[in-house]
């Protein structure tokens, strides 16, 4: 009788182990997949930037410095290897791009150029996609970390050791500003 109970307990523990292991594996894969998704969007951004730079170059010849920064940041981001490197490089690129857009506001002739407006829409969309992909990645990383760190699981993880902690893709400081309310009906819906 006692033997049966012990056997049952061992069986339960093994079953729990299998379930936990499988959950962790599937979460790990989801995290990796969502990282790949960010990569896809980042690639899209890297491809768009040379186009943008070449189009605005003519009009913005006095802003060589800003353009230079964007080009350099892009080069760094493309060549980045590890996750941490990538995060830093991409954040720098985001900042450089933000600066470029701010400067572009000073050139009204750019706004009348359809080509540039379309390109700007593409860049905005790409930035949003990166944002969403990053958000998804961070959410999944958080879930994964919680799964690893809660009580019985942490012993299990330490025992197996196959699950390393993933790094969050942190946002740069500027993006943390609170949004402003605006519900006016737009007459110009260009952006």
């Amino acid at each position: 009788m006692v033997g049966l109970i012990v056997l049952g307990c061992i069986g339960l523990i093994i079953a729990w182990g299998i379930v936990t292991f499988n959950r962790l594996v599937s979460l790990r894969n989801e995290v990796q997949n969502s990282w790949k998704q960010i990569d896809v969007q980042l690639k899209r951004r890297h491809d768009l930037i040379p186009n943008l730079v070449s189009v605005v170059k003519g009009t913005m010849e006095f802003e060589q410095d800003t353009l230079e920064k964007v080009i350099n940041a892009r080069a760094k981001a493309v060549s980045a290897g590890s996750v941490q490197e990538k995060v830093t490089a991409e954040n720098m690129l985001t900042q450089a791009l933000g600066k470029l857009f701010a400067v572009m506001e000073n050139y009204p002739q750019l706004r009348s150029n359809d080509n540039i407006m379309q390109l700007q829409e593409e860049v905005t969309s790409t930035e949003n996609r990166i944002g969403f992909a990053r958000q998804l990645y961070n959410d999944l990383v958080a879930q994964y970390r919680v799964k690893q760190e809660v009580f019985p699981n942490n012993i299990f993880v330490a025992f197996f050791g196959g699950f390393k902690k993933e790094v969050y893709f942190e946002a740069e400081e500027e993006a943390k500003k609170a949004p402003q309310a605006d519900i006016s009906i737009r007459r110009d819906s260009s952006h």
């Binding site: 905005t124 969309s125 969403f132 309310a181 605006d182 519900i183 006016s184 009906i185 737009r186 952006h191």
Partner: protein, 527 residues
């Protein structure tokens, strides 16, 4: 207990699954009843009698019901798309391109779990809805009006809301309810009328199925709002959209009544929707917009008043300031002149209170309706006459002047020549015969009388007893109504309950001329 979004999100939707099953049961049982009654009538009389006959009929009916179910539920997205007249986004249109981009962004935010497409409903209305059928066709519909008037963030919030409906699965359930019950309802009603009592049972089941759908619709709107916020992390944008939608045309009549439950806000203004409590929770398809907005705003520490202020500010930003604005004016030859600034306008020799003025937009008003012009006129009259009365001309909004006429007191407007007379003074004016009438007035009096006699006959034939409310009484501020002075002297004047009477320019002279020359009898005799 306050309902927060996290709470709503946590409540797992076992109810949706349960209702889904009940919905299907109701559909199949009611459809089977219809089929059985119909085929029982047709076949059973002549051949196939006995137990086997009813068995065959049952099988046959079941097959037909399944075919009907398949046709309705598997092609639902396409059917609804055709019903709404929606089209795929135009790749050459920039706003549509933006919409496609936003769809792609939301797709990324959802982790690319479901494929979704979007379609645009033409027209001014502002609304959005999502459908999802068994063929895995998930479609988000958005009206042209919404795309054009929302900012990028706001459109994103709407798409996220609809995408959540699709992801959570409640969209498929409601699409099914709409296509099974909503679209079949007219047909069921018809066969109930022609087919007799046997169908009433199925009719009741159908109605119940439709109502059942309403029971859970409120909760799923709250949940979709929550989901949208989780995706976009921007509760403010969604609150702005809801607030905007609550103040605009949401497509009543454009979006069929059976599709109402699928929309982000109910296209029809529904009293029940804005109420809370058990009854409203059960029978309305949407939660109160105000409550939804408040929940969202609580997350951003903002309030509806702030939104309203921002909106008003935004609208006044678009409009140029009063002093900088340019106006067009209609001259005596009925030609538009301009643009003039206010000082230029005031300097025009032919500019008066009655001049038609437009500020370049679609609205055309009389000059007296524009506050700045009105002030100019007021200043002018004070300069010229010195003393004015407190009474305002109901036509020009300028102060009336006290005048003596036929040795009694009347009030006259310097600009339009209209006169205000108390009812006790009018008989005196009529009796006193100081003025000699010019030929022009006489001719006008005859023409007015003749024309009004003819019109009066038409009017009385139509039995139009309704008072025509026209002007505001200068004395008591009540409304005056337009009427004839008397049945014999058909001059149109404005009367007020307080006894005041308003004559437009020359109307009083015409009336006096008529009475003094006894024109009424003369003209009637001629007829």
């Amino acid at each position: 207990m306050p309902l927060t979004f996290i709470d709503i999100e946590r409540q797992k939707s076992w109810r949706i699954g349960l209702f889904f099953i009940i919905l299907l049961l109701m559909y199949f049982s009611s459809a089977m009843v219809i089929m059985l009654v119909a085929f029982g009538d047709i076949f059973a009389k002549d051949f196939l009698k006995g137990v086997f006959a009813s068995f065959y009929i049952f099988i046959f009916a079941a097959v037909l019901v399944f075919v009907h179910f398949y046709l309705l539920s598997f092609g639902a997205a396409q059917t609804i798309k055709e019903k709404l007249g929606a089209a795929d986004p135009d790749p050459e249109d920039e706003l549509h391109k933006r919409l496609c981009n936003i769809m792609a962004e939301i797709h990324v935010a959802t982790g690319k779990k479901r494929k979704m497409a979007c379609a645009v409903i033409p027209g001014q209305a502002m609304n959005a809805l999502a459908v999802d059928d068994f063929k895995e066709n998930a479609l988000i519909f958005i009206t042209e009006g919404l795309i054009s008037r929302l900012s990028r963030d706001q459109t994103e919030a709407v798409i996220a809301h609809e995408a959540y409906h699709i992801l959570s699965g409640d969209c498929r359930e409601s699409t099914l309810a709409v296509s099974l019950f909503g679209f079949s309802m007219p047909f069921i009603e018809k066969i109930m009328i022609y087919g007799g009592r046997a169908y009433i049972f199925s009719f009741i089941l159908f109605k119940l199925g439709y109502l059942l759908n309403l029971f859970i619709s409120r909760e799923r709107e709250y949940r979709a709002d929550a989901g949208a916020v989780r995706m976009t992390r921007n509760p403010l944008a969604l609150a702005e959209v809801l607030h905007l939608l609550s103040k605009n045309w949401r497509g009543t009549g454009l979006i069929g009544s059976e599709l109402e439950g699928l929309c982000i806000v109910n296209p029809r203004f529904n009293q029940l929707d804005e109420l809370e409590g058990f009854f409203a929770d059960l029978f309305s398809s949407h939660p109160p917009i105000r409550k939804r907005t408040e929940i969202l705003l609580a997350m951003t520490h903002a309030s509806i008043t702030e939104l309203d202020m921002k909106r008003r500010q935004g609208e006044s930003d678009h409009r140029p300031k009063e002093t900088e604005r340019k106006y067009y004016a209609l001259d005596a030859q009925y030609v538009w002149q301009g643009p003039f600034s206010i000082p230029e306008l005031a300097a025009l020799p032919w500019f008066s209170t009655l001049t038609w003025v437009s500020d370049g937009s679609e609205t055309i008003t009389k000059a007296s309706q524009i506050p700045v012009c009105s002030e100019i006129f007021n200043a002018r009259i004070e300069q010229a006459e010195g003393k004015t009365t407190d009474y305002l001309c109901p036509v020009c909004q300028q102060h009336l002047l006290k005048q003596h006429y036929e040795q009694t007191r009347i009030y006259q407007c310097k600009y339009c020549g209209g006169t205000l007379v108390d009812s006790d003074k009018l008989p005196r004016i009529i009796i006193r015969r100081e003025n000699a009438w010019s030929e022009k007035i006489k001719a006008q009096a005859r023409a007015t009388l003749k024309e009004n006699q003819q019109n009066y006959i038409i009017h009385s034939a139509k039995a139009g007893k309704n008072k025509i409310i026209s002007l505001r009484c200068p004395k008591c501020k009540g409304s005056m109504w337009r009427t004839f002075y008397s049945y014999a002297y058909l001059v149109e004047i404005d009367r007020c309950i307080c006894g005041a009477m308003w004559f437009d320019k020359d109307e009083m002279s015409i009336l006096q001329c008529m009475i003094e020359n006894k024109m009424a009898g003369e003209e009637l005799g001629a007829n």
